[in-house]
C-alpha cells in the first residue's frame, strides 16, 4: 500500500499545505484509483473511441452504408475499401461504423430500462419489507430460474421478431439482477444513523427512500450496470444472429454475421470484422466495469 504521508517527517509538517489539499470525497478517491488502473484506462479508451465513431459515423464513414455495388460483391479489403465489401457490395467499414451506433444504443437502452425498473422493484422490496418483499423477490427468483438467453428468446417469441422487441426482452430478463443488488444494498443502508435522523426530522418514506437511502446504495448498481451493458450487447447480437433481433437492412453487427455466415470460407472478411467489433465493444465495458468495481469497493483495494 502506498501512503504518501507516511514518509514525511513530523517536524516539517505543513498545516497550510494540508488545508489546501483538495477535499477527499469517496467519489474523488474512487476516481483516483480508477486513473491508476491501466486495465480500466484501456477499457475507457476503447469506449471513448467507440463513442466517437458512433457519434461521428456520418462524418467518418467513407461511404454510405446502404449504397450497393452489386458488381463488386464480397470484394476483399483493399485501399479503397479498408474492410472490403459485403454480400450486397456495401462498404463494410462504413457499416461497422454505423453499427457502433446501434450497439451503443442497445447497451444503454436495455441496461437503462432494466436498471430503473430493477432498482425500483428492489428498493421497494428492501425498504417496505414483509410480504411485499417476499412476493416481489419470489417473482424475481422465478425469472432467474430461466437461463437468461432462453427467457429472452421466449419473450421475443411472444412479442415477435425485431430489434426493439429484442431489446425489451433483454431489458426484461435483466431486471432481477438489478432488483437483487438494489435490495441488498438498501437493506445495508436502511438501518444507518443518518436514515434514522431523516426519519426523526419527519421526512416522508418516499423522500427517505429516493433522496436518502437510494443515492447511498448506488455503487454496486453502477458497477453491475457497466458490466451489464457488455452482456446486453452480446445478447442482442445473439438474438439478431439467430434471426429474432435486428432485421435487414439494419447495420447491426450480429445480423451482419448472420447474413454472411455462409460466406465464412469464401469471404472471411465479411464475418471477421463485425464479430471483432462486438468483441472489442464488450471488452471495453467489461474492463471498465472491473476497474470501477475495484475503485468503488474499498474492500477490494490492495
Amino acid at each position: 500500500m502506498t501512503t504518501s504521508g507516511a514518509n514525511v517527517p513530523a517536524a516539517k509538517f505543513d498545516s497550510q499545505a494540508l488545508d489546501d489539499r483538495p477535499i477527499r470525497t469517496p467519489m474523488r478517491d474512487a476516481f483516483r484509483h480508477l486513473r491508476r488502473n491501466p486495465v480500466a484506462i484501456a477499457g475507457a479508451i476503447i469506449l471513448l473511441f467507440l463513442l466517437l465513431i458512433a457519434l461521428l459515423a456520418p462524418v467518418l464513414a467513407p461511404y454510405d452504408p446502404t449504397i450497393q455495388a452489386l458488381t463488386d460483391r464480397n470484394q476483399p479489403p483493399s485501399a479503397e475499401h479498408l474492410l472490403g465489401l459485403d454480400a450486397l457490395g456495401r462498404d463494410l467499414l462504413s457499416r461497422v461504423m454505423y453499427g457502433a451506433r446501434i450497439s451503443l444504443f442497445i447497451g444503454f437502452f436495455t441496461v437503462g430500462g432494466a436498471l430503473i425498473i430493477g432498482t425500483v422493484v428492489g428498493a421497494v422490496a428492501g425498504f417496505v419489507g414483509g410480504r411485499t418483499d417476499n412476493v416481489l423477490m419470489r417473482i424475481m427468483d422465478i425469472m432467474l430460474a430461466f437461463p437468461s438467453l432462453l427467457l429472452a428468446i421466449g419473450v421475443v417469441a411472444i412479442l415477435g421478431r425485431g430489434l426493439m422487441n429484442a431489446l425489451y426482452a433483454i431489458a426484461f430478463v435483466s431486471i432481477p439482477v438489478y432488483a437483487r443488488i438494489a435490495r441488498a444494498s438498501i437493506l445495508s443502508v436502511r438501518e444507518l444513523d443518518y436514515v434514522e435522523a431523516s426519519r426523526a426530522i419527519g421526512a416522508t418514506p418516499f423522500r427517505i427512500l429516493f433522496r436518502v437511502v437510494l443515492p447511498n446504495s448506488l455503487t454496486p448498481l453502477i458497477v453491475q450496470a457497466t458490466l451489464g451493458i457488455g452482456t446486453a450487447i452480446l445478447e442482442a447480437a445473439a438474438l439478431s444472429f439467430i434471426g429474432l433481433g435486428a432485421q435487414a437492412p439494419q447495420p447491426e453487427w450480429g445480423l451482419m454475421l448472420a447474413q454472411h455466415r455462409n460466406l465464412v470460407f469464401t469471404s472471411p472478411h465479411t464475418v471477421f470484422y463485425p464479430g471483432l467489433a462486438i468483441m472489442l465493444t464488450v471488452l471495453g465495458f467489461n474492463l471498465l466495469g472491473d476497474g470501477l468495481r475495484d475503485a468503488l469497493d474499498p474492500r477490494l483495494r490492495v
Binding site: 427468483d141 438467453l149 455466415r261
Partner: protein, 355 residues
C-alpha cells in the same frame, strides 16, 4: 445436511410451479388471435374454431391451467402445430444432442478453466498469470457465434483437421440401439421410445455398441462446437478459481501448514483447494444455465440437430407448443442442475445450512 436437503427440495416446488405458470402464459400472451398467428392469415373461420377447440382456448383460464398441469404430470406437452407430432417426442429426438454438447462444453470449461486459474494463482504476477487473465478477459467478451465461425474457418477450412458442421460424417455408420439390442417391433411403445431416446446420446450409444469409428467421428464433430460454447464459462471459472485460491492462500492456516514443513503440493491439495473450490462450484452451477442458452447459438452455427436449433426454427415457423415445451424442459433441467450443485456444495462444506 439431510435437513438442508429437505428444505432445498421444498424450495423447488414454488420455482417449478412458477416455471409452469410462465410457460403456460406464453401461449396466452401472444398478441392478436393465436389461431391466426399460428395457422397463418389464410386460416378460415372453421379452421380457427377447430383449432381453438383442440387447444382448449375456449375454456376459462383456470380450467386451461388445470388441464395443462394435468397433462404435464402425464408427460403430455401437447402437439406441434406444424408436424402434428407430440411435442415430447420432438424434444426427445433433439435433447440428447444438446445434452452431449452442454456436458462436453462444461467438461472443457471446468478442466481447462480450473487448471489455468490454479496456475495463475500459484504464479501470481508472472507472465503465465498475466496471459491467463488477458485470455480470460477476452473470453468473457466473446460473441460465441463469431468464435464458432472463426474456429470453423481455421480448423475445418484452412487446416482441415476437424469437420465443419453437422453431427456425423455421411457414410459413417451409427447403428441405433434398438437395432443393436434387438428391440423388436412388438415391444411396448414406451420401451421403444426410451431406447430411441438413449440411442440419441451418440457418445454413449457408439461406445456401448463398440462402434469406435462412430465414437471418434462423433467426438470430432463435438470438439469445435464445445470449444466455442465453453469460452465464457471457462474464462469465468478461471477468474473465480484464481481469486478464490489467492484469498485462501493468504490465510493463517495455510501459513501454519507451510510452517510445519508441509510441501507445496500437499498444502495445495489437502488444505487450499478444498476451501478455494466452494465459490467455484457455485459458479459452475450458474454457468450451466449459460451453456443451455448458448447452445441455441452453437447449434445454429454448426448446424447441429439439438433443441436450441429446433426452438429457433419453430419460433420462426410460429409453432408455439414446441417452443413452450422446450422452454419448460430446459428451465427445469437448469433448476435441477442448480439443485445438484447446491447439494454438492453442502456436501463439500458441512457448515452450510439453510438460513
Amino acid at each position: 445436511m439431510s435437513r438442508y436437503m429437505v428444505q432445498r427440495l421444498i424450495m423447488l416446488v414454488p420455482v417449478l410451479l412458477g416455471i409452469t405458470v410462465v410457460t403456460f402464459a406464453m401461449l396466452r400472451l401472444i398478441p392478436g388471435d393465436p389461431c391466426r398467428v399460428m395457422l397463418g392469415e389464410r386460416a378460415t373461420a372453421q379452421m380457427c374454431a377447430d383449432f381453438n377447440e383442440r387447444m382448449g382456448f375456449n375454456d376459462p383460464l383456470y380450467t386451461q391451467f388445470a388441464r395443462y398441469m394435468g397433462n404435464l404430470l402425464r408427460g403430455d406437452l401437447g402437439e406441434s402445430v406444424k408436424t402434428g407430432q407430440p411435442v415430447i417426442s420432438e424434444l426427445a429426438d433433439r435433447l440428447p444432442m444438446t445434452f452431449e454438447l452442454t456436458v462436453a462444453a462444461m467438461f472443457l470449461a471446468v478442466t481447462v478453466g480450473m487448471s489455468a486459474g490454479v496456475l495463475a494463482a500459484l504464479r501470481r504476477g508472472s507472465l503465465v498469470d498475466l496471459a491467463t487473465m488477458a485470455v480470460a478477459n477476452l473470453g468473457v467478451s466473446m460473441p460465441i457465434f463469431w468464435l464458432g465461425l472463426v474456429l470453423m474457418f481455421v480448423f475445418a477450412f484452412r487446416l482441415q483437421w476437424l469437420p465443419p458442421s453437422g453431427r456425423t460424417t455421411v457414410g459413417v455408420n451409427i447403428v441405433p440401439l434398438a437395432t443393436a439390442w434387438g428391440v423388436s417391433e412388438a415391444a411396448p411403445s414406451w420401451l421403444r421410445s426410451l431406447v430411441d431416446f438413449i440411442s440419441g446420446f451418440q457418445l454413449f450409444s457408439t461406445l456401448v455398441t463398440g462402434n469406435l469409428a462412430g465414437l471418434w467421428d462423433t467426438i470430432k464433430h463435438l470438439i469445435l462446437p464445445a470449444f466455442a460454447l465453453c469460452t465464457i464459462p471457462m474464462a469465468i471459472i478461471a477468474r473465480m478459481t484464481r481469486s478464490s485460491l489467492l484469498e485462501v492462500l493468504g490465510q493463517d492456516y495455510i501459513r501454519t501448514a507451510r510452517a510445519k514443513g508441509m510441501g507445496d503440493r500437499l498444502v495445495l491439495g489437502r488444505h487450499a483447494m478444498k476451501n478455494a473450490l466452494l465459490p467455484v462450484v457455485t459458479t459452475i452451477g450458474l454457468q450451466f444455465g449459460y451453456l443451455l442458452g448458448g447452445a441455441f447459438l452453437t447449434e445454429t452455427v454448426f448446424s447441429l440437430p439439438g433443441v436450441g436449433r429446433l426452438v429457433v426454427d419453430r419460433i420462426l415457423a410460429r409453432d408455439y407448443p414446441v417452443v413452450q415445451g422446450a422452454v419448460l424442459i430446459i428451465a427445469s433441467v437448469f433448476v435441477f442442475a442448480n439443485l445438484l450443485v447446491d447439494l454438492t456444495y453442502a456436501w463439500i462444506d458441512p457448515r452450510i445450512h439453510y438460513e
